[in-house]
């Protein structure tokens, strides 16, 4: 393994579930306000996974009061506390950008498996 690969692998996060586009995840993000720190939870559908290893990022989309909201997270960022897999979704694409154009029932993704999501 090259030195650069070793450095990159040392910053990899452990305990990230194996999820794909179409799955619903819950991202626990650390938010710093002054010297206080709190956890903000963002739950939505993974519409894209990009990059590999230390550089990987995910785009999560949800509907907030009828408005589509998307957030891109760097999976290995120290600001990500944890990522929880909620549901597996059945989709035919790796990038679900088409969801941006859809409304209502058309945005619904068939759920395959449900994971233990009783705790918040």
């Amino acid at each position: 393994m090259s030195i650069v690969e070793k450095i990159e692998n040392s910053s990899l996060k452990t305990g990230i579930p194996d999820f794909k586009a179409g799955d619903t995840v819950r991202v626990h993000q650390k938010i710093k306000e002054g010297d206080k720190e709190r956890i903000q939870i963002f739950e939505g559908v993974v519409i894209a996974k990009k990059g590999s290893a230390a550089r990987s990022s995910i785009t999560v989309r949800k509907l907030s009061y009828g408005i589509g909201v998307e957030k891109t997270f760097l999976v290995n960022s120290p600001l990500i506390d944890k990522i929880k897999l909620m549901y597996r979704g059945k989709v035919n694409r790796a990038k679900l950008y088409y969801l941006r154009e859809k409304k209502g029932k058309e945005t619904k993704i068939e759920r395959l498996e449900t994971y233990n999501n009783s705790e918040v």
Binding site: S2, V4, I7, S11, K30, K32, S77, P78
Partner: protein, 214 residues
């Protein structure tokens, strides 16, 4: 104190800082270097330290250079470079210096040989705009006029013309030190440095203006 070392460019990657932001970094193998010889104000009129970096099989060393190593009683070394240092008296011949010399230093400058680009035109070499590709412009990537007929009736010296690009010694100044790994002799600096991966570079501590401090 000496604040310069010979190193090797390993490559670039990115690191997270504590705010979660991504910093582009260049990883450098800095040292360890051996002090091969030194020059002092009394003997040579200036103070300097000659450092050596990298291993070499003794049979590959030319005899005159081997004599230089033998005189100073050090093992043969591949790369030799003299660094100006007013306090050369503080180090001894045969000493090993490593990247921990940059502990407490915030910024460094890195000198390396840029990648050679070969013979290039004015658009790539000097950033000329060139002309329009279509609509019969008949002027694409040519340099254009390089002077007038009756006056000045010559081409000025130093005019930007096509020619060899790259493969020159260049210094990237004021690079922030992100991390120092003394165990593996690695130095992480923010941003890019000249040259290809694996090239030999010279790393200098920076002064308060971000310039090479010797």
């Amino acid at each position: 104190m000496l604040k310069a070392i010979i190193g090797k460019k390993i490559g670039m990657t990115q690191l997270f800082n504590e705010d979660g932001a991504i910093i582009p970094v260049t990883v450098l193998k800095a040292g360890p270097c051996t002090v091969v010889t030194k020059k002092t104000l009394e003997n040579d009129g200036y103070g300097a330290v000659q450092l050596g970096f990298g291993e070499i099989e003794p049979y590959k060393v030319k005899k005159p250079l081997m004599g230089h190593f033998k005189k100073n009683n050090v093992n043969p070394i591949r790369i030799l470079k003299e660094f100006r240092c007013s306090e050369a008296g503080s180090v001894n011949i045969g000493d090993s210096v490593n990247v921990s010399m940059f502990n407490g230093v915030k910024y460094v400058c890195v000198t390396g040989i840029t990648k050679g680009k070969g013979f290039q035109g004015v658009v790539k070499r000097w950033g000329f705009s060139g002309g329009r590709d279509t609509h019969g412009s008949m002027f694409h990537r040519a340099p254009g006029s390089i002077g007038q007929s009756s006056f000045p009736s010559k081409v000025f010296r130093g005019l930007k013309m096509p020619g060899h690009l790259g493969n020159k010694s260049r210094t990237a100044s004021n690079l922030k030190i992100i991390r120092i790994d003394s165990e593996q002799d690695l130095l992480f600096v923010k941003g890019a440095i000249p040259g290809a991966n694996g090239n030999i570079v010279y790393i200098y501590g920076a002064n308060e203006f971000g310039r090479k401090k010797i």
